[in-house]
Symmetry: D2
């Protein structure tokens, strides 16, 4: 196990990707700090997932449902990816970054569609998707 | 369809449970407002789900994992129920209340176990579970 | 810990609900057998969840989407509950039965709606929902 | 909209990726057939997700839990990705392939770890993970 290095106000141990030897494993307590760093992105994903579920359900009650079909479809896909991205980050998974990249693309597509509709739930969903896409891209960088 | 009735600053239409005739269906636009009311409980559930996932993963890195076995088990169960309660509320489902009742019980059990451990992630999880149990019971009332 | 009792081809230990003392905890290895018993219900839930997701997405592509609005809404709710029921059973959770009860009700509602539409995806979803409702009720008994 | 082309026993319309104009949108009824094609991969993902959840919970009851820590962690991550891959495929999402690629990697890692332990639940989980990784790679090809 290598030496701790200063990182902001704390010392962290440089994790060797994929190494779970007993030394590295305990050094992974650092994941607790990672969780703090991830927190912004987790919040953005969870808020976006909930906004997508709400938008899908609300679209179904609009007068012109047919016009909203693609919006509902993208809402469902985006919600599924956002919930899972939040889960992988909360679990401190090494795969979180890759999923965040995929999630950001889904958010972009959903935001582009939602933004075309004037309904409050669509505009709110578009805003949540844009914020989530940004947070996921920062995370995946 | 019955007449709108005053409710705080807005007028709402009393929804006939389970009725989806075209009149009632459109009156369900009111669900958008319901979503706002649900927002507190949705937030509490999502925060709790994420705290449980984080706690489960962090427990696995503690020195005495065996002592944490029940904590991890309850974390996994509680997270699954919290995510789903948040989803049903976001979808404006009529079944949300029943699930919130079940979710509150899972939160109680998880909080009781987590509270016995001194780790930060356990204490944070216990607090999130307690807040979520309260919010779910208010919702289910 | 009480004595093992014969159960089909195996001996099982009567689990004391909610007891996780070290004796009971290890006796819970029996949960592995429970998992086998649960398998039918897990399969029915997973199949139903997937059929609901497929039905929701396929309904959005039908010519008369508006007619399918309630079907899509119930598909989304039913899928969320079925996935989670399968998760809790796979995790050997004590709360699985209660969720199965709720899941069975959601399946009934979704089956009743889907059965009214002639589309293949609706008829397939209705059949999956009925099978799942039955399996969940047996589990919850 | 282009002409249908023969594909096995059915005719399919070549979908223009990402195009949801009214012509293309209706041609997407073909997704119903896609769902059939996806079925094998969906089944493998759902079976794997359930096996991972069962393995995680069963590991927690083993005598030497500490030895199982990495197994439980990878089970949780793999289950989350498998459920979501199954969801995206069931929804006929254009993003399903990308997620399947990520899911296959998670399955590989989980299978490699599980295979090292002699417990039935670990061996069953390793087998489910391998089958799922294969199905996901075929899908993503």
């Amino acid at each position: 196990m290598t030496k701790p290095i200063p990182h902001g106000k704390v010392y962290i141990w440089p994790l060797q990707q994929g190494c779970w030897c007993s030394s590295c494993f305990f050094s992974k307590k650092i994941m607790q700090q990672t969780f703090q760093q991830y927190q912004d992105c987790i919040d953005a994903c969870l808020h976006c997932a909930s906004a997508c579920d709400n938008c899908a359900s609300s679209c179904l009650q609009e007068e012109h449902v047919k016009m909203m079909a693609r919006c509902i479809q993208l809402d469902m896909e985006c919600a599924a990816l956002c919930y899972t991205a939040a889960r992988l980050m909360s679990l401190g998974s090494e795969r979180a970054k890759e999923l965040c990249r995929l999630c950001a693309d889904a958010c972009d597509a959903c935001a582009a569609e939602c933004a075309q509709h004037q309904h409050d739930h669509c505009q709110q969903c578009a805003a949540a998707c844009r914020r989530c896409a940004e947070a996921c891209r920062r995370m995946a960088a």
